[in-house]
Symmetry: C2
DNA sequence: CGGGATATTGACTCTTATCAATGCCCGTGG
DNA sequence: CCACGGGCATTGATAAGAGTCAATATCCCG
């Protein structure tokens, strides 16, 4: 597990913190001053596990992480992927109720939750930021409920591609950081079905694949309309 | 839609506000003084709709409400049911991204969001409460993701009964406020499948039905274990 | 260049959805 | 108080979508 924060060291100022309310917690707004050395995690390693005591929240500096929950028999549901600027690890009580793992090599900065709250005592805006971040997470999760509860396989995969494209608001070429298995566990499908839906989208001329991970969105409009 | 708050009138002090962090916002903690006359809504009427401007949050005084989202073709996903003491209607921006409707006749109290935040400026604990309520909602929603993404029909229905039993922490007899259709839209199933799973749980000796709405939980332990 | 992990594709199964018929409450009015 | 009617719920037969199992194929990565 991640060792607590503390050291003096400035995390490198990154561009791309401008997305609405993502990454609001800068060194300045926390009032915490230096927040700690970014910690690195290798691909597929655990940042924290379900059931573990929770004392920190984290901000992704680089890479991609996944938040997931397991059933006793191993069935897994990924509730979110987080990328640079995103914060994760918020918990009501002192226990993590989901686990966080690195999808690819990542760097994250840890904030002591108690310190944030203490800092919040002097800074209304900090607590407001935490509230906003949590509400954004809630909205995303509720949208995902609709996907899992009511959308078919093709719609789910189309929605996934749109979501990933939006978050890396780059051009029409999308680099997927995660394997089919992770996509499947995010969308509540099997990896075979995900693969078939990619094939179908290709058939339909909505996407083009260049290897398994590079996806050209040939017709984002149509893709969006398919994600109903 | 609901008309804004304001009037002098004390809402009746109800017992049962003791559940951890449900209904933390009392007249006292808000510092708002009298918060308004509870507003009534008849069964199946709308409290607010998806897309509508959001300016209030609500606390259920009595009855049950459902939060839902619709796809253009009418498919519906219910993300939560709320009962006495629960708060709902939190939004990041100024638009409701889901709708709220009365499942049975309900009374709710509306709080102006801006007033809460203004009051929060003097009361750290109020904002903390809002944060906690939101995090609790987030946790519930993530648990529900696991259900929708990875559990089979029988597990979903068993989990539903357990959830409902826990929240009305009464004895072994459960009064369901909602119709099969609502249960189905909460669990991501059809009403027929829900009905069949009730039948199967009956077969298995886990429950007994007395009419469609009254459920005896004959073996809550087993039911819980079936909800994996 | 080789090999292991990852992905695709195929054949078949199984769960749940769909369509349809019947049954059961419960409230209303005669 | 009883009968009727309409919404709900149950049950059945069948279909469809996604899962499972299995056999390649492809892609990285060393």
């Amino acid at each position: 597990m991640l060792t607590p924060v503390a050291q003096a060291s400035r995390l490198p100022r990154k561009p791309g913190f401008a997305l609405p309310l993502r990454g609001t917690l800068t060194d300045e707004t926390t009032g915490l001053g230096p927040v700690g050395i970014p910690t690195s995690f290798a691909r597929n390693t655990e940042i924290y596990a379900e059931g573990e005591p929770a004392g920190h929240v984290y901000k992704v500096v680089s890479g991609v992480i996944r938040i997931s929950k397991l059933l006793p028999d191993g069935r897994r549901q990924i509730s979110a992927f987080h990328t640079a600027g995103d914060m994760f690890g918020f918990e009501v009580d002192d226990v993590h109720h989901a686990s966080a793992e690195a999808v690819v090599a990542v760097k994250v900065v840890a904030y002591k939750w108690q310190s944030l709250l203490a800092a919040g005592a002097h800074s209304m805006s900090l607590v407001r930021d935490l509230l906003n971040l949590t509400m954004i997470g809630l909205r995303h999760t509720q949208d995902h409920l609709l996907l899992l509860g009511r959308k078919n396989a093709l719609e789910r995969v189309a929605a996934f591609l749109i979501e990933m494209a939006e978050r890396t608001n780059a051009g029409p070429v999308l680099e997927l950081a995660m394997a089919r298995h992770d996509i499947a566990d995010y969308l509540g499908l099997t990896l075979e079905t995900v693969s078939r839906m990619f094939a179908e989208l290709k058939e339909l001329g909505a996407i083009k694949l260049e290897g398994a991970r590079r996806v050209h969105l040939l017709d984002p409009e149509r893709l969006a309309s398919m994600s109903t």
